[in-house]
């Protein structure tokens, strides 16, 4: 199983959440809000492009709009492969968290 980095996972989840409206601006806003930190343009696009190289996300250019000075948006979606990796990753994490969760609880209680 390939390990997804934290950044990558967050970005992919964000894309899923945005459901078809995931492009630079929206992704950045959602991620910044969710993590509480302001992510820069570079911090968004860099991992996104690497994910695209790996085939975990794909993108298409939308039509140009006026507010963007006549430029198109690049809309991202998660691929099948990306979904599978996310799910696998989640499973692993859930497993790990489970054992820890119980443990920590008991520690904190006692």
């Amino acid at each position: 199983m390939k390990i997804l980095s934290s950044h990558d996972e967050i970005l992919m989840l964000t894309i899923l959440k945005l459901q078809g409206n995931a492009y630079g601006v929206t992704i950045r806003r959602l991620v910044s809000k969710a993590t509480g930190k302001n992510w820069s343009i570079g911090a968004i696009y860099d991992p996104l492009y690497r994910l695209e190289q790996k085939g975990l996300v794909e993108s298409i250019l939308s039509d140009p709009t006026r507010e963007r000075g006549g430029r198109s948006k690049r809309l991202f979606t998660v691929t099948q492969k990306g979904m599978e990796q996310l799910a696998a990753h989640k499973k692993v994490r859930d497993n790990l968290w489970q054992s820890i969760g119980e443990f920590q609880y008991e520690k904190n209680q006692g």
Binding site: E67, R68, K73
Partner: protein, 880 residues
Amino acid sequence: MKKTRDNTRFPAVTYWIFSRLLNQYTEVPVLGDLQEEYFYLCGEKGPRFARFWVRLQLIKSLPFLIRNLIYWSIIMFKNYLKISLRNILKQKSYSFINIAGLAMGIAVFILIALYVQHELSFDTYHDNADRIYRVIQEKPGSESVGKDKFATTPPALAPALMQEFPEIVSAARIGVLSNTLVSGNEKNFIEAKVHCTEPEIFEIFSIPFVKGDAKTALNDPFSILLSERTAEKYFSSENPVGKVLNLGEKFDFKVTGVFKNMPENSHFTMAVVIPFVTYFQFKFGPGALTEWSDYSSFYAYCLLREGAVPEESEKKFPVLLDKYKYHGSNIDRSRKAKYLLQPLTDIHLHSGVNVPISSTNSDIKYIILFSSIAFLILIIACINYMNLTTARSVQRAKEVGLRRVVGAKKSQLVKQLLGESFIFTLLALIASLFIIWLTLPVFNNFIERQLSFNPVQNPHLSLTVVLIILFAGLFAGSYPAFYISAFKPVTILKGAFKTSSKGAMLRNILVMVQFSITIILVIATLIIRDQLHFINNRDMGYDKEQAVVLHVGDAGTRKNFHNNLETIKAELKRNPGILSVAGSKRLPNNINFNPVNILPGKAAGTYTPIYAVWGDDEFVNLYGIKIIQGRNFSKDFPADKNGAILLNETAAKTSRWESPIGKEITYWGNRTGKIVGIMKDFHFHSLHSPIEPLCIYYEPEYFDYLSIKINAHNIPQTIVAIEKVIKKFSPKHPFEYHFFDEIFERSYRTEQKTGKLYGVFAFLSIIIACLGLLGLASFAAAQRTKEVGIRKSLGASTANITLLFLKEFVKWVFFANLIAWPVAYYAMNKWLQNFAYRTSIGIGTFILSGLIALLIALFTVAFQSIKAAGSNPVEALKYE
């Protein structure tokens, strides 16, 4: 309208930076995102904040942008590389020819550059090289012996220098003993040179010691130092210190030190060193130590203090000389010798002196000549490369046009075509390294040096080459890249694309020049070979065959020969294979003493210079030198022993007498000799010089060479027999023999090498000219496809058209000949003037060279022409 600051505009600078750093794929969406957010923020938080935010984004995203840039650049690079390589493989023969031509040019350039570098580096390895000077003297009136500067100085000079000149930190003298027999550890060798010098020499020059201490090793007058190589020669791997070597069968010396071999790039090297004072045990006697007269084998070197100016010291020489040498006598100032300080690093290339300490000096003239040739070859190779590339790109114009039509951006095409050009040049560089690796051994052999090329250790050269080649690649690639990509695609597809006629004329002239150079070189090579042939076949006036020569004049064993000449002769002649034996001071092909003024001249009281050598009674006959008047020296005339002389014809004619036989000449100060015979003139110098007056004194002792005429049968056996006899009379003499005809041939080694060199240059030139012509032919063929199409459709046959093309090129070769012939004639005539006896320059040579050039040209363009002529006219005209 007043210009107001538009606060709501997107910050321009930041925008610009972003757009430059983003590549094609990311540029549009990212800039769009920025714009969108900017407007939003303008509304939400005001323009000032928005602008600040954008700038902040730039800074925060910098790592991303840069990484992106690098990543994409690599991808693009790999892509271009793939496409370029594919293109190269598609045009295999063209690529191969172009790369090979350029590689060859580079290889030749590097080889010559290595040689030039090496020559320029002589003596620079010494720590104090820039402060070391040799004292030389200028003696007016000595032009007759060559130059008026001498490298030799009186033996007493060096200590005087140290005493009188405070700015001279150290001075040392070297005396050179030639041809000394050195024996030790059961081995005997004749050392060509033994250097007698002082410990100060090791302060001046950087010659590290491997064993022993440089400061004290020469304290004992009978101590001896060896170079590592010499130590190994006598003592193999044993420690030589403390062991004994005998010099000249006279004195024993104890080894007190071993020094590192002096590098090859030194103007002189030492192998065996003994103390300076001991020189006078061998020659001249101890009194000469403080002499200020000029002997012929002492040299003085000195080390100046830091910051000292040599000219200042030179000004003080006349005072010094007056004090010590001339003792304030009233010799005319103009007849006094002038002493000069010659920088060490000048010696190898700018020596210009008589009696150099070693004969390995070269001349700056050659360095300049070869450097020019090297650059010329490289430039011509680059120009050919550019020509071929351009010609090729015209053929690819269609492909380029097509790509423009399909939407390739101009910058993309430019980059790609440039990239291809660079890859070519890179491949050429690699190929040239391979060529160098292959040819370096042969090259080293030819120039008699040991050069090696390590690009890493030779940054100057590597950088120069790389820069020149990159430049060539840039130049070559830029023409097709920029010029063709700029054309409207439609124009190209229509075939209306043509290059300027100016360029074409330039190219034609260039090829013609290349062919001219080729023809000149071919003519030169042929004429040099003619001259060598002439030299070999000319009757020199003496016989060269079947003569074995032994050098027996070494200090050490020569007395064994001198005292026993008659007995040795008798022993040798007992062998039926030996016909005659003669002893002489020099051999007939090279009597290299300076002439002496002892021959009474035509005008009363005058003397003319005459070359003189001494030999025994068999010398003249052994070498087949004819006596045309009088007789040879003979034992039948015992009076000959008191002094007998043979003159050559020229001497007889130049002398005062109508019939010189019976007259007397005084030589060696106080001896007189009677002229007993006149010899037919023979060439006792090389054919460079005319035959001058010569006399031979009868002197059956004091000879340096034993010449033995042998029978042509069973030569090896005869040699063995000779060795036996020699060993009997001089067991320690290292037996080494040469055949006289080999000695003769070797004396023309320079000319032979020159001939070979020109041959190689001619060959290279042919290849280069062919490449140039090929480029031209391809170009023309591509240009004229339409013309060919029209002609063919009008009924011309393939043969007609081929002839048409060929005629074009033959025209240029013809012009090349016109230019080449006069230049070659002039140059070769001048070269031949160096020889007093020379071959004549025949018209046949010129015609032959012209024909060779013609054939080569025809061969080169034939293929292209036939291909062009055979093309289908439909193909050419279908776009009309």
